[in-house]
Amino acid sequence: MEYSGARMTSHREDLRDIPLRGQIDLPFLMLVLLLLTIGVVMIFSASFARAYYDPTDETGGNAAYYFIRQLIFAGIGIGAMFVCAGLPVAFYRRMSRLLLIVSLALLVAVPIIGVRVGGARRWISLGFTTFQPSEITKIAVILYFATLICKFKDKMRTVRYGIVPFAAILGVIAVLLVLEPHLSATIIIFAIGAAMMFLGGVEKKWFIGGAVAMAIFVFIFVNFFPYASSRISTWLDPLNPEERSGDAYQIYQSLISVGSGGLSGLGLGQSRQKYLYLPEEHNDFIFAVVCEELGFIGAMLILCLFALLVIRGYWLALHCRDRYSFLVCAGITTMIALQVFLNVAVCTNLIPCTGISLPFFSYGGTALLIQLAEMGIVLSISRDIPARKE
């Protein structure tokens, strides 16, 4: 109790607490490193055919191109994770508003200076790499919403404090993302925001109301926007021979990858679908390659690791002594869980197709870097949890 007493003295003195903080949570760290290792190995396996056969200016036909870049970012990311684990939670709390403002500024900048890929402008180029500002927005929303919740406390039950500020921020973000357009990021940020409000104590009726509103919105969207309705029809009938080479191509190829893997898979490196049949095989559909190569057993093992990571994240949140830490830890965990679920669900056609990456697996240097930094924040929080008394 002396320890917590010291923390009570002054907010400023928190920085001096650093030497007094406990150890990072080893199980969580191990799970992250394990998943990261498997992910990087899978990047190599999944990407080399594309890198070799589809020599764009980017890869130059170097089969290991994607792998090496991912490996470098994983290294930098681990460094970033430990740096983040070293920073005190209060630092994040203090920086939260600034981070949100910066991320909103970047979102505003994206439609202006962003790099266009396909039909959307979602990336900002840093010269040596590109990154999606929406990745930063996600963590900024978690950090700032937690700050607001801690500030409003019991007033979270009211509309004025519990709904309006949050809804306003989400609304601004939604508008900016729709401009890109970036539907999947919008969905995730809305879900994260909702989860934060849920944890913050907003009354349940709002969530029921929100769910009803969402259902109506989806119904209208699907019925009156041909783009969306075609997604729904390919989702319902992905094996339709007429659509196989058209709209349903991605999901058709993904299902072949997943299904042909069988119980034990074709073996690591032995995927055939990655030979240019399966699109986005090292990005959004990397899990399909995992299923094909490692089979049901391998895929379930990886899902179990993710589940353990998620459960451990919530477990850490539950043991937080500090409400802000609790909210951030639960928020980040929820975000990871959401991304894993949505990505795997898309690969296996459980939900209609949308572009969501798989944490630690999907190719993307800055995204990986940011994910590892977020893990660093969780680890930082874990240090404040007192060790169980033996």
Binding site: G269, R272, L338, L350
Partner: protein
């Protein structure tokens, strides 16, 4: 900062509500969601695994066929009759064109230029972007395929592809077309040996099964490949001799045009001792390299036809006729050629002998006949020896021979000769064939035993004695006649001599198969003796037109009315035929010729003796030397044989006279010098014996031209003199038996009215057109 406003209140801890809501999220996001994913994975990867694996294999695995090379067909001397050459199929893969961002317009333009395929057609193929295989051109020859390959390389095109294939070539076009047969588009045999030996010739196609990437090339680091070797087809060597086949077809063709033959002709040359078929022809024939094409006349008819249906009907009728092997697929009443069989039976049974004599009063009536049967010579042949009866082809004498043999014995021998297979049911018609390896062989039709062997009615036996009331195939007849002359052994006819695998190792070699001894060797010798007389007797022999100087040719004529045609109410039609055997001193080869429905206005009397016999004679004259049978001329023949002109230039008249006498020629001189400066005809020319060679003594031949006269109907010596008057010379297509006045020119090599130089040699065909021999025998 929010917290700095209340510095002493300290950080708030999560409340109970927050913890319970976290637990809720933990269960939903950490457990329920993953269970849902797991169940779905189980469903896809375990439950529906087979379905997806099939789809995966379907798109990842390419099964490529490696065509086995089809075997070559050789004639008995190793000449190539049918061979396969490498060609290529050019196709595009629209899927890969799209995948690799290639320009369909460029591809269509390039391929259209090289292959001559319509550009829009290629563009339409390229638009089928689902497809991996759209064939642009089949069976593209090597040089064009090379151009396509260059075009592909220049433009770095993945979507343009070539695939190996083979094409069948028949170097002799229409030669032996019915025996060799042809192959269809997929290189499978559709007729003849190509069909009968299809499995032997075709070999076994190989397969390459391999996984490829979406661009169709191999996978990196993954060796998923199964290779099944192609097994090349075996080579087949036929018993056919291309030279013999050529002569058979040439003379059949000549007969068809000379005699206005309406329904085609058939011919078979058989080795009588082995049953090997040296040649088999059926006219009109067709070009194996383009078997659908019909003759120009038929094509003209098709072009003239008005409706599409008519055109199609004419085409299919003509194709049906030209593809039909009359020697094998048609049956006919053989008529008098069958008398060889009746003669053999009677001799073998001992019911007749060379000493027997037969009286022909012009007709005969047997038990069961309602009217008398006339001999072809209505006032009768009078008293004749057995040999004369055969020479005369006397129906009355042969009815007597048949009656002496008896119906039961007749059928016993007919069966032994292979004309039908016995049937336990005596009331059923009898039928059979030789069982040769070619497809489509027709079967004979004979009366049932009950009808034929009815003692109250001998009319069927009487008719059968001279070759009527039953139908057989030409192949059956020549096989049976071969047995009559080869010492009595019925041989199994065959066309395939040997099968050797792609390495040249013999897999199977046919050997002559004796089915049975039908008649005794002694009987056979007598038959040979009599048959030679039919041809060699220039006075009484009905087969004398088959005579070939220098050779012992025997044979028998045949003229049969097409009964079915008459019953159907059509005009009278005849099949004239002749079966010849040579050399009679040691029979080796039999030649059967059938001319179906010759014209009655050709100028030649319609009969086997006048039409088919000379054709067989012409065939023997060409094939016997080609088969290595040496000619041996008698002193009389020597006189009549055409002579070769020696080189006389520079000699004195006396020296030249001696040389010419030695050569069997005479001479006259022009000019007054002492040495010969020129001669007509030139040295080496072959001209009729006793022709006058013109010797120029310090003089030159008259450069003016002469008009060739019409020689038809003239005897050889008259024609010779007629030409000598104009400074022209004559030669005969083959030697003649005598210079009897009845032997006349039927055709000449240079048409009457043509302007030719002095010294030109005109070749003529001679036929004994003895009016006393006119008759259907």
């Amino acid at each position: 900062m929010a917290t700095s406003k209340q510095p002493h209140k300290g950080p708030s801890t999560p409340n109970r509500m927050m913890l319970s809501r976290t637990l809720f999220l933990m269960i939903v996001c950490g457990v329920v969601a993953f269970i849902a994913l797991g169940i779905n994975l189980f469903y896809l990867q375990i439950v529906r695994h087979d379905e997806f694996e099939t789809m995966a294999i379907e798109q990842q695995v390419r099964d490529t066929t490696v065509n086995a090379a089809r075997g070559t067909i050789y004639d008995r001397n190793g000449k190539i009759l049918a061979m396969s050459a490498s060609v290529e199929t050019v196709y595009i893969s629209p899927w890969e064109i799209i995948q690799n961002d290639e320009d369909p317009e460029l591809i269509a333009t390039g391929l259209s230029e090289i292959l001559g395929v319509d550009k829009d057609k290629i563009l339409a193929m390229a638009a089928k972007t689902e497809s991996w295989y759209q064939p642009v051109a089949y069976k593209v020859e090597a040089d064009l395929a090379e151009q396509v390959r260059e075009f592909k390389a220049e433009n770095d095109l993945i979507g343009v592809k070539l695939q190996a294939d083979t094409k069948r070539y028949y170097p002799y076009s229409s030669l032996a077309s019915h025996v060799i047969g042809y192959v269809g588009f997929e290189n499978t045999g559709l007729s003849g040996v190509e069909l009968a030996y299809d499995s032997v010739l075709s070999g076994v196609n190989g397969r390459i099964i391999r996984a490829t990437n979406a661009q169709g090339t191999d996978l990196l680091y993954t060796n998923f490949e199964d290779y099944y070797d192609a097994e090349d087809g075996s080579d087949v060597t036929l018993t056919i001799d291309a030279n013999v086949q050529y002569y058979l077809e040439k003379h059949l063709q000549q007969a068809v045009s000379d005699y206005g033959v309406q329904n085609g002709a058939a011919g078979i040359v058989m080795d009588v001792n082995t049953g090997e078929i040296l040649a088999m022809a059926s006219l009109g024939n067709f070009d194996l390299n383009d078997y659908d094409a019909v003759s120009e006349e038929v094509q003209a008819q098709i072009d003239a036809a008005e409706t599409e249906e008519e055109k199609a009907q004419i085409l299919s009728d003509a194709q049906f006729l030209q593809w039909r092997n009359k020697a094998l697929e048609d049956t006919y009443e053989p008529g008098s050629t069958f008398k060889i069989i009746t003669l053999s039976m009677a001799l073998d049974l001992g019911v007749t002998s060379l000493e027997s004599s037969y009286y022909c009063g012009g007709s005969i009536q047997v038990t069961g006949d309602t009217t008398a049967r006339n001999c072809w010579k209505t006032y009768g042949h009078g008293s004749q020896t057995l040999t004369q009866a055969v020479q005369h082809s006397c129906n009355v004498a042969f009815i007597n021979l048949g009656l002496a043999v008896g119906a039961e014995n007749f059928y016993k021998y007919a069966e032994a000769f292979g004309f039908f297979q016995d049937n336990e049911d005596s009331s059923a018609p009898l039928s059979g064939n030789t069982g040769i390896e070619l497809q489509g062989e027709a079967s004979s039709i004979w009366w049932s035993r009950d009808v034929f062997e009815n003692p109250q009615n001998l009319s069927q036996l009487a008719a059968a004695s001279f070759g009527q009331t039953f139908t057989i195939t030409p192949l059956q007849l020549i096989t049976a006649v071969s047995a009559c002359v080869n010492g009595g052994k019925l041989m199994e006819p065959y066309v395939v001599k040997e099968v050797a695998d792609a390495n040249g190792d013999v897999i199977s070699a046919a050997s002559p198969t004796v089915k049975r001894q039908v008649i005794s060797e002694e009987t056979s010798d007598i038959v040979c003796q009599i048959l030679e007389q039919v041809v060699s007797d220039s006075v009484e022999g009905t087969g004398k037109n088959a005579y070939v100087a220098g050779y012992h040719v025997g044979g028998k004529t045949g003229t049969s009315e097409k009964v079915a045609q008459e019953v159907a109410g059509g005009p009278k039609e005849y099949i004239v035929s002749f079966i010849g055997i040579a050399p009679m001193t040691d029979p080796q080869y039999a030649v059967l010729v059938l001319l179906d429905n010759p014209s009655s206005d050709s100028g030649t009397y319609v009969s086997g003796g006048n039409m088919a016999a000379p054709t067989v004679g012409n065939i023997f004259a060409d094939i016997l030397p080609a088969l290595g049978v040496e000619a041996e001329y008698t002193a009389e023949e020597e006189q009549h044989t055409d002579k070769s002109v020696p080189n006389l230039s520079g000699l004195t008249v006396e020296e030249a006279a001696a040389r010419l006498q030695e050569a069997g020629l005479s001479y006259r001189t022009i000019g007054t010098g002492s040495t010969i400066t020129d001669q007509l005809p030139r040295a080496g020319a072959v001209i009729a014996a006793n022709s006058e060679v013109i010797l120029y003594l310090d003089a030159e031949p008259d450069p003016s031209l002469e008009e060739v006269p019409n020689l038809t109907g003239l005897s050889y010596s008259i024609a010779r003199q007629r030409l000598a008057y104009q400074g022209l010379f004559i030669s005969a297509a083959r030697g003649i038996a005598s210079d009897s006045n009845t032997v006349v020119v039927t055709t000449q090599s240079i048409e009457a009215g043509t302007q030719v130089e002095h010294g030109t040699v005109i070749e003529v065909a001679l036929v004994d057109n003895d009016a006393s021999m006119y008759g259907r025998y």
